[in-house]
């Protein structure tokens, strides 16, 4: 067993109250070596006939899914998506053993894309699999399984970790989208108390992998705090969310026309007003959009680019107004 595997054994296995389940899809033997490794990690193997059955058996205590044999791309995708959308604390290692993964380059690309922990061709030596299993389980081990931290703290950390990839900054800080700046600051400070890596230096010194995870949680928290307490960036972030592309602050992913419009502004006032205007446009409120553009123009009267934009927004507003009325007259959305 690898050193990480051993440290996992030492860490917590005896303290885990419920044994962990490994769901293995039938259709090819996974090998004695792997079974032995799973036993070391206190994972009990249950077999399932198909991917569908695995998905139906999936539960809170599932730690491992081994997709085997003739699994096709679609089945893999469904499984990984399901696991990715599982509630927090479900830290599941996914292994795919399929002939499709004999092409290494293709395999690694899919592995990245679908967040598969390991994929190997069916005929790969099972010893290799057993060796890598320990580190993979450790990487995905919920912090709450580590007995050294007070339960509320580790549960909260798991929750944050679970929200990291798909949670918005608001969700991370456990806030409403309309939260005031003071609330944002307070929420961040509360979470920083338990999620700052400095807090874990002493207690978690035997779990570097966990400290690393906590550090990445903290980095995202402080990113969220930095963006949400900056009025313009916060507005821009709200736009990012509306565009649906991302849950992080990535204005570069915004529509190019929006970006160029924001870049037209020199002053913060104008920028803020333009952001409000774009927001209103996305919500279909062109009158408000035009009003905000007027505010922007007041802030920067000598900005020809901004003037042109304002005029075109006003034009749309004139055209859009009667449509709004016609929608109202029908009493619903079209």
């Amino acid at each position: 067993m690898t050193s990480q595997g051993q440290s996992l054994g030492k860490v917590s296995v005896s303290q885990i109250s419920a044994r962990r389940r490994g769901l293995v899809q039938e259709g090819g033997h996974i090998g004695a070596g792997l079974y032995a490794a799973l036993a070391v990690h206190d994972v009990v193997v249950e077999s399932a006939a198909s991917t569908d059955e695995i998905l139906s058996m999936l539960g809170k205590d599932t730690r491992l899914i081994v997709l085997n044999g003739n699994t096709n791309d679609d089945q893999i995708r469904r499984t990984t998506r399901r696991v990715r959308h599982a509630p927090y604390g479900w830290s599941i290692v996914i292994i795919v053993l399929a002939d499709a993964f004999a092409d290494r380059a293709l395999a690694t690309r899919r592995q990245q894309k679908w967040e598969i922990d390991m994929c190997l061709p069916t005929g790969a030596p099972k010893k290799l699999l057993a060796e890598r299993l320990g580190p993979a389980l450790l990487r995905r081990q919920p912090i709450s399984e580590i007995p050294d931290l007070p339960k509320p703290v580790s549960t909260a950390l798991d929750e944050l970790w679970g929200a990291l990839e798909r949670g918005t900054y608001y969700a991370l800080l456990q806030l409403d989208k309309r939260a005031e700046e003071t609330e944002i600051r307070a929420a961040f400070k509360n979470l920083a108390q338990i999620a700052h890596p400095d807090r874990h230096r002493v207690r978690m010194k035997n779990y570097p992998a966990c400290v690393e995870r906590i550090t990445s949680v903290y980095k995202r928290l402080s990113e969220a705090h930095g963006i949400l307490t900056h009025p313009i960036r916060r507005r821009l972030y709200d736009l990012c969310l509306k565009s649906g592309q991302t849950v992080r602050y990535e204005p570069e992913k915004l529509d190019a026309s929006f970006r160029s419009e924001i870049d037209l502004c020199k002053t913060d006032e104008a920028k803020m007003a333009v952001l409000e205007s774009i927001n209103a446009r996305l919500g279909g409120d062109w009158r408000a959009a035009a009003r905000y553009m007027e505010i922007a123009i007041q802030a920067e009267p000598r900005n020809p680019g901004l003037k042109t934009r304002t005029d075109s927004v006003k034009r749309v507003c004139l055209v859009a107004a009667p449509i709004e009325m016609s929608i109202e007259s029908h009493g619903g959305y079209v």
């Binding site: 931290l149 007070p150 400070k189 400095d198 807090r199 002493v202 207690r203 903290y218």
Partner: protein, 528 residues
Amino acid sequence: MSNATEPVIGIDLGTTNSCVAVVIDGEVHVVPDESGSPLQASVIAFLKGGSVVVGNQAKQEIMIDPVNTVFSAKRLIGRSFDSPEVQRAVRTLPYQVIRGEDQQPFIEIRGERFGLPEVSGMVLRRMKDIAEAYIGRTVQQAVITVPANFNDTQRQMTKLAGELAGLHILRVINEPTAAALAYGYGHDVNARVGIYDFGGGTFDITILDIRENVFEVLSTAGDGYLGGDDFDERLVRCMAVAFEQQHGYTIDVDPIACARLNHVAEKTKLELTETDRAIVNVQELTIGPDGQSLDLRFRLDRQGFMERCQDIVQRTFVVCDEALRGARLQAQDLEQIVLVGGSSRIPIVREMVGQYFGRAPLVDLNPDEVIAIGAAIQGAALAEDFFVEDHTKVQPLLLDVAPQSLGLASVDDYYEVLIERNAQIPCERKQVFTTSQNGQTSVRIRIFQGEHNSVGRNTQLGEVELYGLRAAPRGEVKIEVAFEIDTDGIVVVRALDLETGLEQATRVHTSAGYSDEEIEDMRRRSGL
């Protein structure tokens, strides 16, 4: 702090003086040396016969044997040989500063070459020894402070100095932040505070929000060329003008007289801090054109000093404005202004700071000790387990920021900022890089710190080289590089090959840094 925990000392490694403090049983002790002095001169004297004396005993050697006595090493550490600071030092310092193969400066004493971290390490070792004698047990861990405007290389070199002194450096923290800890920790402070740190050669302002022992730095700004020395220079000018008016003869042609004036100016400045007027009388300052000796007679009152030096203090407010903008605050939003640093003793500074912020600044902290105290508090907090069941004391949590923007040179030498200044640390930004030529197997990324739009005006930290890439048509290999600023304010670079998901090998060449062999040499000489 329980006895079972390893002691962590806090060291203020200063340009002129250093100070060490430690928390014992929840109490901060500023550690005195054998003779009871809380301060040690940051001076290293290399005596004839090979022995080395560090600290207060070495101080007199500056006068006796200036060529073999190193002081003000902090001005040089982590800077490249061609930088203006090092160039100025080469001209003015009596000991010899030479250039290594690369850009890195060395100090040459009696034919032997020393790296800057090595000499600073000697000061740190002295501080460690003093602390060990005081506590009565070995010390292996420390927190060291640096000026807020220190860049990555300066921080790394300071950390290396600590290691060469046989210390494990738990954290490198900013001096104003340390001062804030000393001011606010355990004193039930809940306020927005400005730390106005006006030292001998640098000025830093840090704005913090302190609530329930969470010390959140909102912004920091600094000027590395603004300090007490500017007052001295101004006084020297005034005296030179007075001398010329008296004798009709300029003193600028006599370098020794100028050096003496410098010394006199510093004394005058100190005197005007204590008293309302100073009378300067220097006999035989220089020899006139006719061979006669010329004296200087000069008198200045506090009012006159104020008038002549107002603009220097005014320049600190330009920096304060910058910090306030960074924190999106107004001067009057700050609920307390804390003055630290030697130059904050000057009455005109206190007065003008009071006017600028609209409130009387707090001046009762001991500027010599406050930074080491803060470092010791942070050290104790890092050594203690936060999650102990019955902790009676709330531990401080320090949330510091990146003092300078971190960026890289893009295609046509345009400076692309990755991490903005005042971003909370630790933080990370990822960027995807790709090859621009067919079959290219390595990519070089130049990284910089600074605020200028053009790359050339910022400080180059070094070069990251991604090597051993798969030979492929251009644009096909995609490498994701994560630039991180860690809790020490030090830059960490990691790279990931997006195609294979494997860690991409990187090499970081630091500018003004030492080669591995040179560092190895330093370790060997330091007995590690």
